[in-house]
């Protein structure tokens, strides 16, 4: 490994302009994460216009900082008001909020921030050792391998929408369907454009993403707009004790790798990682009865995993252009828009960009701990922002973001439709990530599929085109059978231990 590139990356990350965007991203991300209902995906989607006109590396640093900043912030509202900022901070409510009720909110927030830092740093080292070999491996990919990779990624995302497999497939096909709108790049035929010139280039998936995540989220929050919870101003000491630290270290170190490896899998993201880290920690703990009542181990384990998963989810996004979570899907779209094409060639052609990002993530995690500990009183005040004022502002930013993508109000109609769709999908428990992922990879998948069918004389031969395609086909079968295996294991467990049920 050429260490001079790493050092160059560190110096680029430390340039005043990049440091400034890093701090701004970390603060914005923390604020967005703290506000209930606005997760990292919504935060990045709404703030995309900010990146216009910026240097690509600064834009990437800003978006990554918003992403992990929002994860730091998400746990603040979980701890303080028992309301997770997004799915990945659900596990932080289990023991974080009981700690607040015991008068330990400040300690809970500071130790959670340290857990996130250690989890994040562990994952950065994992990123350094795994991303480059993976990118080099992906250089062997041709059209057939890419088709199988997309099929595997989509099926993994669908399979991880546990209990909603049919709904997952349905939203995946809807996403693929939307991606077929516009000119077919191989034949030049206009498809499903309804004679609207703006649709010739297809529907910008960022508009759909803003619609589903931001507008859909605002409409969903209208349900409880009068019932916003406010935190207690008294958060107690913000410094955790030696005893709490002793109890926390092992769970933090154990949960980081869990989060990292789960984060790499498409679709698993922070929610599954943090919940799994919590349950693993609880299973091996001696003081099981204290969990759910304010056990510090129950708070730090999911926090470490969550932060680690965020870094892990960037690996498939940067090396293969396959987003591992909703937030990385939004980031992928934004990166393509500003001229950065994620994929194996990114590591070959722009190593400086990749190493600057990695170094910025390291610095960003430290900055976030400082923000989250030093500015704890101010962050509590953010939770006092009235939702009735906040959500109209999010709506304006969403419309503004959509307009700046294509300079046409046709995108406003698409935004509104996507918002209504997002609301219905959420209320009726349809998974959104398969739709977003399918929407992003749909066009590439079709182009590679058509090319591969020509090269290999038909669609079936794509499966057996190379050892990689066979391997990916087996992984697809495995991922689709995963829910069935879990179900069967669950039944067996019930049979073996009927009394515990």
């Amino acid at each position: 490994m050429d260490f001079s590139i790493i050092i160059d990356g560190l110096f680029t990350a430390l340039q005043p302009i990049n440091l400034m965007w890093l701090v701004i991203g970390a603060i914005l991300g923390t604020i967005v994460g703290i506000l209930p209902g606005l997760g990292p995906a919504t935060g990045i989607a709404v703030l995309i216009p900010l990146t216009f006109g910026m240097e690509p590396i600064s834009a990437l640093i800003l978006m990554a900082a918003i992403y992990y900043g929002a994860l730091f912030g998400g746990s603040r509202s979980s701890i303080l008001i028992n309301t997770p900022g997004d799915g990945s901070s659900i596990a932080a409510t289990f023991d974080g909020y009981p700690m607040t009720k015991k008068g330990q909110a400040g300690q809970a927030m500071s130790i959670a921030a340290i857990a996130s830092l250690i989890g994040g740093v562990m994952a950065i080292f994992g990123f350094i050792f795994l991303a480059i070999p993976l990118a080099q491996f992906a250089l062997n990919f041709g059209p057939a391998e890419y088709v199988m990779l997309f099929i595997f990624a989509l099926s993994a995302v669908v399979a991880l929408s546990m209990g909603n497999i049919a709904k997952g497939f349905l939203t995946m096909f809807i996403g693929l369907g939307i991606s077929t709108i516009g000119v077919d790049l191989q034949s030049g035929v206009h498809r499903f454009t309804l004679d609207v010139p703006h649709l010739t280039d297809g529907i910008d998936f960022i508009v759909i993403i803003i619609g589903i995540y931001a507008l859909g989220e605002v409409l969903y929050n209208m349900f409880n707009i009068n019932k916003a919870k406010k935190p207690d101003q008294n958060i107690g000491s913000k410094w955790f004790t030696k005893e709490q630290w002793k109890k926390s270290l092992a769970p933090i170190l154990r949960s980081g790798p869990i989060g990292f490896f789960l984060g790499i899998l498409p679709g698993s993201g922070g929610t599954i990682s943090s919940l799994l880290a919590y349950s693993t920690q609880k299973q091996i703990a001696k003081n099981k009865e204290e969990y759910g009542k304010g056990a510090v181990e129950g708070l730090v384990a999911p926090e470490s995993a969550n932060s680690s998963a965020a870094v892990g989810s960037m690996i498939p996004m940067l090396t293969m252009a396959i987003p591992g979570s909703g937030a990385t899907a939004v980031m992928l779209g934004a990166l393509i828009m500003i001229g950065i094409q994620p994929g194996p060639l990114l590591f070959e052609n722009s190593p400086d960009l990749v190493w600057t990002l990695i170094n910025s993530m390291f610095i960003g995690n430290i900055i976030l701990v400082i923000i989250n500990i030093a500015m704890v009183g101010m962050l509590v005040k953010v939770l006092h922002t009235p939702p009735k004022v906040l959500y109209p502002l999010v709506l304006v930013l969403s419309f503004l973001g959509a307009y700046t993508l294509g300079y046409s109000t046709v995108d406003f109609y698409i935004l509104i439709l996507a918002g209504v769709l997002g609301l219905l999908l959420r209320v009726l428990n349809y998974p959104v990530v398969p739709l977003i992922l399918a929407l992003i990879v749909g066009n590439d998948m079709e182009q590679n599929f058509m090319r591969a069918t020509v090269i290999y004389d038909g669609p079936v031969s794509i499966l057996f085109a190379s050892p990689i395609t066979i391997g990916l086909a087996l992984l697809t079968i495995l991922s689709l059978s995963y829910p069935l295996i879990i179900k069967l294991l669950g039944r067996r467990k019930k049979k073996d231990h009927p009394m515990t049920m």
């Binding site: 049919a166 349905l170 605002v218 999908l425």
Partner: protein, 149 residues
Amino acid sequence: MYIIRLSLPVLFIVASLIYAIMIFQLQPAMLGEPNAPRYFPLIICTGILIFSIVDLINMRKENIRQNEDLEMLSRKSTLKVVGIVLGFCLIYTLIFEHLGFLISTILFLGALLFYLNGVKHWILNLSVTIITAFTTWYTFSFLLEISLP
């Protein structure tokens, strides 16, 4: 409540049928295989139709009364708020290019704030509306050099 629950699978079935009609109306490709632009959409159309029907069948197993969100959305008061907010969004879409960013945003944000936050907080509503509209307009037009209508 049942109508809302039914809405998506039924909408997707109808959409897949319209999509199928549009696929058969597509122009054939001038180069190579004439039906090539239809293949991928056809697979997708079949997928949407099959899984919408499966979802419709699975609905019978679901206890929709346990879905709190659906129960909330089915309330008249919630539907009214969501409908009015969407109405404001639609009006904003219609006036945006005619009145320009500044005026349309002041009207849109002001209407939303007065509706959601109440007339009682008129000072806060007005100041938030004016500050936001001017700040975003200035940031985009001058700092980011993005032209707004």
